[in-house]
């Protein structure tokens, strides 16, 4: 299968910070000898290089749908990246210290796009609940959000509220909410990001333990925008949050003795 290798190599070697980097020993596929390689984790991609200063990676492991496990192996500090399919290879890696091994296992097991998306969705919901809660307290009502109109280039990039965003490219914002099961027979354009209904999207991610369900959600289900588009929510939250914070601060100051 072809990949845009130049782009991959660029991503691997560009100066965006890596989420983890270091030497690891990688067990060969057919022969069980270990080879020392320089590993770089960026996003959900684990690149490995022959040398630390190599200009191109030798290979890459895409960290979606995998399990990261410790090995009970004779060699110390080994761990494995295991994929589900029967044809899939298991990557056995060894670190040079206990600390390095733990650091890698931790970062690799949380590196997937799926995991990030889960966390982002949860934070979106929290923010949404907080906005609703505050709005109820203020007696304000929120406009039902209309369908979101795409803007030509990342407007959020110029918003002061956001942390420094890269000026490198007019990158767009938002999170993709996709059915990530390859082979699912969905037509390509209903990947959930249109301006209209979203709830053809797949089952929601598993909820973390402390989830509260607010009544506000049920009540405003009719008006609720689908939480599936960061960009749309981003617009709304920014306006709402600014308004609500102002209200909240005024209320705090108001009745103080």
């Amino acid at each position: 299968m072809k990949l845009n290798e130049k782009s991959l190599a660029f991503y691997a070697t560009c100066d965006s910070p890596a989420d983890n980097a270091g030497f690891l020993y990688k067990r060969g596929e057919r022969h069980t000898a270990y080879h020392r390689r320089w590993f770089v984790l960026k996003g959900n991609m684990l690149f490995y290089f022959e040398e630390r200063d190599s200009r191109e990676p030798v290979g890459v492991i895409v960290l979606e749908g995998c399990n990261v496990e410790l090995c009970d192996s004779a060699e110390n500090f080994t761990f494995a990246i295991r994929f589900g399919g029967s044809k899939s290879r298991t990557y056995v890696l060894a670190a040079e210290s206990q600390e390095a091994m733990e650091s890698w296992v931790k970062s690799l097991s949380r590196a997937s796009f799926d995991y990030m998306r889960l966390v982002v969705r949860e934070l979106e919901k929290q923010l949404q609940e907080m906005s609703r809660g505050l709005a109820g307290g203020c007696g304000g009502s929120q406009d039902a959000p209309g369908p979101w109109k795409p803007k030509p280039s990342g407007p959020e990039q110029s918003r002061e509220r956001l942390p420094a965003l890269p000026a490198m490219l007019p990158k767009e914002n938002g999170c993709a909410v996709w059915n990530n099961v390859l082979g699912a027979d969905r037509p390509p354009d209903t990947s959930g990001c249109g301006g209209h209904d979203e709830e053809g999207t797949p089952r929601p991610p598993p909820l973390p333990p402390r989830r509260r369900v607010s009544n506000g959600e049920a009540a405003s289900a009719g008006a609720a925008e689908s939480p599936s588009t960061f960009c749309r929510l981003h617009e709304q939250y920014s306006r709402e949050v600014a308004r609500l914070r102002q209200d909240w601060q005024q209320r705090r100051r108001g009745p103080q003795p």
Binding site: A176, S191, G194, G195
Partner: protein, 125 residues
């Protein structure tokens, strides 16, 4: 569709899965290839058409012609949001907003609040 230099279009089935765009021949189960959607630019071209180009080779455009303009807009929106790097920035943004509103770090419950990749100001690119 294939890159359009000699205006040859090939019909493909295209699937967006996390930050990859897979493409298939319409009658095959295995993809021919995939594009990693990091550091890329999605451009709406003429009617029904959008293109993807990458920062390291900006003049090379992968062009796609859709059946309808609406479909084209949906794809453009979808692809603009498909990168991991942007998801990361979203997370940082929400975390910061929630922290400002509540005084609490919402990542603590996940045990990831100390990770360098989520710190405000990290990953300036």
């Amino acid at each position: 569709s294939a890159p359009r230099a000699p205006a040859v279009l090939k019909k493909r089935l295209v699937k967006l899965v996390v930050n990859f765009l897979f493409y298939f021949r319409t009658d095959e189960a295995e993809p021919i290839g995939a594009l990693l959607l990091e550091h890329c630019k999605i451009t709406k071209e003429e009617e029904n058409v959008f293109s993807i180009s990458f920062i390291e080779e900006p003049e090379r455009k992968y062009c796609f012609e859709c059946a309808t303009e609406e479909q084209c807009q949906e794809w453009v929106e979808a692809l603009k949001r498909a990168s991991y790097e942007f998801l990361r920035r979203s997370l940082i943004f929400y975390r910061n907003e929630i922290q400002k509103m509540t005084g609490k770090d919402p990542l603590e419950q996940y045990g990831i609040s100390e990770e360098a990749r989520f710190q405000l100001g990290a990953h300036r690119q």
